[in-house]
Amino acid sequence: MIRDITIGQYFPGTSLIHKLDPRMKIVLLVLNIAALFLCRNFFSLLLMFVMSVAWVLLSRIPFATILKGLKMILVILVFTAFLQIFYNDDGTVLWHPVESWDFKITTGGVFSAVFIAVRIISLILMSTLLTYTTSPTLLTDAIERLLSPLKVFKIKVHSLAMMMTIALRFIPTLIEEIDIIMSAQKARGADLETGSLVQRAKALVPILVPLFVNSFRRAYELAFAMEARCYGGDEKRTRLRVMKLGGKDFAMLAVTLVCFAAVVVTSYVNMGSFFLFEKVI
């Protein structure tokens, strides 16, 4: 059950997306996210949605897997969209049950709810795709290199990247551990599913305490093991894998930049009153 969480999981493959330079992937993701937040009308949003679906298709990761990841955020999605419906009361009124109340549903509300929902979905699609198609080691390696200019400010970029690698590496271990501890406490009659909110929160103590204790123990062990081997990656480390940008990286960059420009132009330059170009948010 808890093991179905796929955040941060990596699905090995040989698709175009898998083969992109991870540094470029991160840059493209940042550009795409920025574009998503710059979207103002349905045209630009649709463009970005199509882009994210195209990325998924190119990665050749089965849609079923992607949808399973999306299921996790369904609650957040519905909640945000729901709030939007009531928050925004522009446009024509669709439903106004009680005359004296301020409560009504308008076209503006519905449009912005749909808008937000599509935006979140596209956001999740693109960002999960990054971890789905890039191994954690490559990912942190790429982040380290992208951040390396910060070394000028005496920031220990390598240590930061190492911490991220370790954190990512231990997500599956932690999930497995939660699963085992939960089972073990259930075997002693722990009841996690019934009772009031307070009771349920209390029932978590037998799971959280061992989880934290074990995590600290593991962290110490790892630190000792690294020190025992004189780990010091900060200085003068050379690399086995040298990342190199290639033709496909620049091709994807070009496509992304064109989309980015299209989003900016259609959102911030007056394009007339065609529905798709009308400002929603």
Partner: protein, 288 residues
């Protein structure tokens, strides 16, 4: 009707993903009240999975687990009640301690059973006594105990629920021979005082052979053998082929047999092996 019965259960992990793996395939067996059953199998053969089926922590995809003739997976209440009757000690149970004191930790199970405070206190003392935890340790934090003491405290936590079936998943993993012996003695003590049925999961055939009446051998998710210790050991060659760690003396007997000597390959204790060798030597001298 058997006390605890497993009927044709199948179970797969990660169903519907590319990582799907069949952990149990059509397993069936029955255990009578008071039996001491050893469960052995290679790493990944499905021992832990099967044990978690027996107290309704995992639900079989198909098939059923019956306790006293009743399906334990009918509803949540039955499942939870089953967990008090079938106690399961996990692999490395010491990593699941959480309370401020050992006493409170041992009391966690009985408290969940909603017993009276006096009854709980009594059960804690009894369990601590069985596992040999001195009473001055009971008010210490479980995190201040030694590794071996932690393991005992954790086992006591399950014993305090007084389950009718006690399942222990590799209780002696990572312990030295003396530590192993202490754990085996604890189990015997518990059995003697409650008459409970015991299922002991282990990698070590030697440990299991020394204590159990009967052995279940798991191989790749199926029950490969089910019988008395002697009958299982008489198929020692198959056990070795399954990658199991048979006692050294059994290995010697199998080798001797392959060299053409008439020996019983089912020996597993040093004393039996000595008898066998003496017998063999005697016969050779006689014929030569």
């Amino acid at each position: 009707m058997a006390f605890l019965e497993v009927k044709n259960i199948n179970y797969s992990y990660s169903k519907g993903t590319p990582f799907e793996i069949a952990a149990l395939k059509n397993c069936s067996f029955a255990v009578e009240k008071g039996e001491y059953v050893g469960v052995i199998g290679h790493t990944g053969s499905g021992k832990s999975t099967l044990m978690q089926m027996l107290n309704a922590l995992q639900k079989p995809d198909s098939g059923a687990v019956l306790l006293d003739g009743k399906d334990i997976n009918t509803d949540k209440v039955t499942a939870r009640d089953t967990r008090f009757r079938v106690g399961l000690v996990f692999q490395y149970p010491e990593y699941q301690l959480f309370e401020e004191t050992v006493r409170k930790d041992i009391a966690y199970g009985p408290t969940n059973m909603k017993l009276s405070p006096e009854e709980i206190e009594q059960r804690v003392l009894e369990a601590a006594n069985i596992v040999g935890l001195p009473s001055d340790l009971l008010d210490k934090s479980p995190f201040d105990l030694s590794g071996g003491e932690k393991r005992r405290a954790a086992i006591a936590g399950v014993m305090a629920m007084k389950p009718e079936v006690l399942i222990l998943d590799e209780p002696a993993a990572g312990l030295d021979p003396i530590g192993r012996k202490v754990i085996m003695d604890m189990i015997n003590k518990y059995r003697a005082s409650t008459g409970a049925t015991v299922l002991l999961v282990s990698h070590s055939m030697e440990t299991v052979a020394a204590v159990a009446d009967r052995i279940l051998v798991l191989n790749k998710g199926t029950i490969a053998m089910d019988g008395t210790v002697d009958s299982v050991f008489s198929r020692a060659k198959e056990l070795i082929e399954m990658g199991l760690d048979v006692p050294a003396v059994t290995r010697i007997a199998v080798c001797l047999k392959e060299m053409g000597y008439e020996v019983n390959t089912g020996v597993y204790s040093v004393a039996d092996a000595a008898d066998m060798l003496l017998h063999l030597l005697g016969k050779k001298e006689g014929t030569a």
